[in-house]
Symmetry: D2
Subunit: 149 residues, 4 copies
């Protein structure tokens, strides 16, 4: 996307996520973190399913939320800015039936005030990946000086 | 919204949610369930927070997903139809800092094939409710005969 | 919504719209403009229809765009700030068959950087109003000093 | 995307658009129409602008509406099905300042009942294209037999 503004970005994002009780509760991990692009995933277990045995839509939305936030955050000025999820829209296109769920978020448009990020979520089973959701998110970039950080 | 097509709807929705591992994992409950309107809520605990100590956006999205689905489901023909979340859009308008999080979903337009539902999410603290998110969802209605149910 | 920050707001918004070629081309008018709430409408004519004789979705989206922008703009500091549409989502819930189309936008959450606005679009025929679309929009507030205005 | 179900699809979509008063009023044309992918464009003129001289957001939304609908329609069974725009979400990422505006819509997920389509809108100036909007749309597929067509 652009040159890494935060060289050790993968480490930074893992540290932030380690401080999220819900990230630990869901049990997701960072598979890939590069400037403008982040992939998270989670393995199937009963605690993450809905009543038909598929991954719950809430788990899919959680991955979208964290992956888009991290992708947008990767392009901010390290230690000076942070970002908040302003909104996203998510389309569920197939049942999330499989052993693993992954979400890859890619920045479409980095901006001074707002960053727009696309995400695609796949479910993995029998060595194949199937698209289960598509999302489009807007993140608001804030100067830490403005938020007392 | 209209006359109840499923008289014991509150019981029905609780039974469906009891079979969702993720609903139990998050620990949400059904506060109110009437035709076209459903409220869910969850209490604050570390496992549901993000790194600033607010409710995680993924928890908010989970409540929106389940509440909008249940509200749409309440207007279907009992035992003959089901509905799936096609998509939703969610705006996060304030940090979800508080003791309890609730989501109320109201059907805006019931339809033969699609149902459109609005949701508002509030956080509760010191006896006050604050709006933290607004959502707009589309549910696809399916005949159980068509899905082999 | 709050006290009017721009006393002559209705006049201001009409002046802005008068400078929009597309507003004149579509032929829409300002029916109501108060702090946090704006209604626009347009009369039926062939140039605004799609192939079944209903108002075109693009006309509906245009009204949503201008009405949400004006509603958000009504709460800004007069002469010091402006706002831009960051994004919106729109659900089309019924065919827009009728003599007049109106859109009412109401601010849900005014913010320092972002304003969130809901809109409902109705079609009018035989003295009755029918809901045809629901929308949820995010506007970015900018200081004119920052944009060279 | 898949084999063309409607061999003369480009011709079909042009005929449908010729019957839209609003398509003629805006003055848009079909640049490209293949199964699952459609590009529309429109040239700059005063009647399509907002008050800063950029293409109006309503023109952008109109192109998204028609391009996503045509892309989804290209994968339906010719003469037996039609599709309606259920909803879309659109992010405006840059001012649409230029000589020509184009929108390319690509089907992400064709479905039996719903089709999901992504769209990107570019503005063209000085031989360069700049991304101005990104959209994600849901179309409902209907059997003509069900709608009396």
């Amino acid at each position: 996307m652009s040159e890494p503004r935060t060289p050790d970005f993968g480490e930074t994002v893992r540290k932030v996520f380690d401080r999220q009780g819900f990230m630990r509760h869901v049990g997701a991990r960072v598979d890939h973190a590069a400037p403008g692009e982040v992939t998270l995933s989670v393995d199937r277990r009963d605690a993450l399913l809905q009543h038909h045995g598929f991954f719950h839509g809430g788990v899919i939305a959680f991955l979208v939320d964290n992956a888009t936030g991290a992708a947008a955050g990767s392009l901010l000025r390290d230690g000076r800015q942070t970002c908040l999820t302003a909104e996203y829209k998510i389309n569920f296109v197939s049942p999330a039936k499989g052993e693993r769920l992954s979400c890859t978020a890619v920045v479409v448009k980095p901006g001074k005030r707002l960053t727009v990020v696309e995400a695609k979520v796949h479910v993995h089973a029998d060595g194949k990946a199937k698209l289960v959701a598509v999302a489009l998110a807007t993140l608001a970039n804030l100067d830490l000086a403005d938020v007392g950080g």
